[in-house]
């Protein structure tokens, strides 16, 4: 049976530092997904992730195991990426903590005009990922924590340090925006396909 994160941490703290490689291998891909979606740049994300792993290693003796290692570690990744973002020269109109004033409301009925989507699974997945990558980091990060890390509201709150209401609101907006973008792309693609068919 594979060691749990806690087993590995116990080994590390008892002197087997090489065991940390197991933790890295276990979490690096998901953490990289988060870093990449926040920083939008592969080398920056890699650097941030390396920094996060080094920080986590040195902070491990202070890890009280009140939450899972994943939650604790993703908070470090999130903070490192947020710091990297804030250091960028590019001035952002909206910071990560600021709401963007989108008038969407959670209970508001939306357009039910949903086209039939008949994308191949791989294509559809590629479109979804591209659209997440194209979103602002505040939405991309929360979507990644929710879908990729499979975190609930409370865990996302713990990772981002945002209030629960903000997390709920932001996740709602992100999902609606993502759905609109995907439908738009798939719809356009289908429309283009239909035009090609009619030209024949």
């Amino acid at each position: 049976m594979a060691d749990t994160d806690n087993d590995i941490i116990t080994r590390i703290l008892s002197g087997d530092q090489r065991a940390y490689a197991g933790l890295i291998d276990r979490h690096k891909d998901r953490a990289m997904t988060l870093a990449l979606r926040m920083l939008k740049n592969r080398s920056d994300a890699e650097e941030a992730l390396q920094d996060a792993f080094v920080r986590a290693f040195h902070a491990l003796p202070g890890f009280e195991r009140k939450s899972s290692f994943a939650t604790w570690f993703y908070r470090i990744v999130f903070n490192v990426c947020s710091t990297a973002l804030s250091k960028r020269v590019r001035v952002r109109v909206a910071s990560f903590d600021a709401d963007d004033g989108d008038p969407m409301k959670a209970g508001e009925p939306v357009s039910t005009d949903m086209p039939d989507i008949d994308c191949e699974r791989a294509e559809f997945q590629a479109i979804v990922r591209e659209e997440i990558d194209a979103m602002s980091e505040q939405y991309a990060a929360i979507l990644t924590l929710f879908f990729v890390q499979d975190m609930g509201y409370d865990e996302i709150t713990a990772v981002t340090g945002l209030p629960l209401g903000t997390v709920k609101n932001r996740l709602f907006r992100a999902r609606v925006l993502l759905q609109r973008a995907v439908v738009k792309r798939c719809g356009n693609r289908e429309h283009a396909g239909m035009e090609k068919e009619s030209e024949r």
């Binding site: 530092q17 090489r18 065991a19 940390y20 490689a21 197991g22 890295i24 291998d25 690096k28 891909d29 998901r30 990289m32 997904t33 990449l36 592969r42 890699e46 992730l49 390396q50 792993f53 080094v54 290693f57 959670a106 209970g107 508001e108 009925p109 939306v110 039910t112 005009d113 949903m114 039939d116 989507i117 559809f124 997945q125 479109i127 979804v128 990922r129 997440i132 979507l143 990644t144 879908f147 990729v148 499979d150 709602f172 999902r175 609606v176 993502l178 759905q179 995907v182 439908v183």
Partner: protein
């Protein structure tokens, strides 16, 4: 007919067994438009859950470990170079012990010129040479034992030594298995 709100749809997808979504489920059963929306969000969720593997370079873990200054996983050649002497010693000692035991059990006093006896002499001389190097201070103790006990006591001694070397090697092998498991 009033359609489901987006929040209703999300609640239904995230926790379909929840009691709060019972009305949404009933509505979705009758409303084609809302059923499509639910299906679309579900597909998006599944697609968004994919992890971007193979994005990181293969040596990423090793790089982080290097940054930490943690002991690196030793490459195989390095392990061989470190433990080659141990392995040689183990083979050497086991060979002497085996030969000594065989001669002690099977070689008759008249078989001094037999092949086995000659091999025994060969191994005994080699063993004596090693003892001269590694146990020069105790030469007076070890050499008479080798030459006078016809291999019986030295066999016991050598088997014990072989067991110690073997245990040491097993420990090394355990370390090696940890190294490979980490990789």
């Amino acid at each position: 007919m009033k359609h489901l709100s987006e929040q209703d749809v999300f609640d239904y997808i995230d926790d379909p067994s929840g009691t709060a979504v019972r009305d949404a489920a009933l509505h979705a059963a009758e409303c084609d438009a809302c059923r499509k929306r639910i299906e679309m969000h579900r597909r998006i969720g599944v697609s968004a859950a994919g992890v971007d593997t193979h994005v990181l370079p293969k040596n990423f873990t090793a790089r982080v470990m290097l940054t930490l200054g943690a002991p690196k996983a030793a490459p195989r050649l390095s392990w061989l170079s470190e433990n080659g002497a141990n392995i040689f010693a183990m083979v050497f000692v086991v060979g002497i012990a085996g030969c000594a035991v065989y001669v002690a059990l099977h070689a008759s006093p008249d078989a001094a010129e037999s092949v086995y006896a000659r091999q025994y002499s060969l191994w005994r001389d080699a063993y004596a040479s090693v003892m001269q190097v590694f146990a020069a201070r105790n030469r007076e103790v070890f050499l008479p034992v080798v030459s006078e006990t016809k291999g019986i006591f030295s066999s016991v001694f050598l088997i014990g030594a072989a067991a110690l070397v073997l245990l040491g090697s097993l420990d090394k092998l355990r370390s090696l298995s940890r190294v490979f498991r980490i990789r």
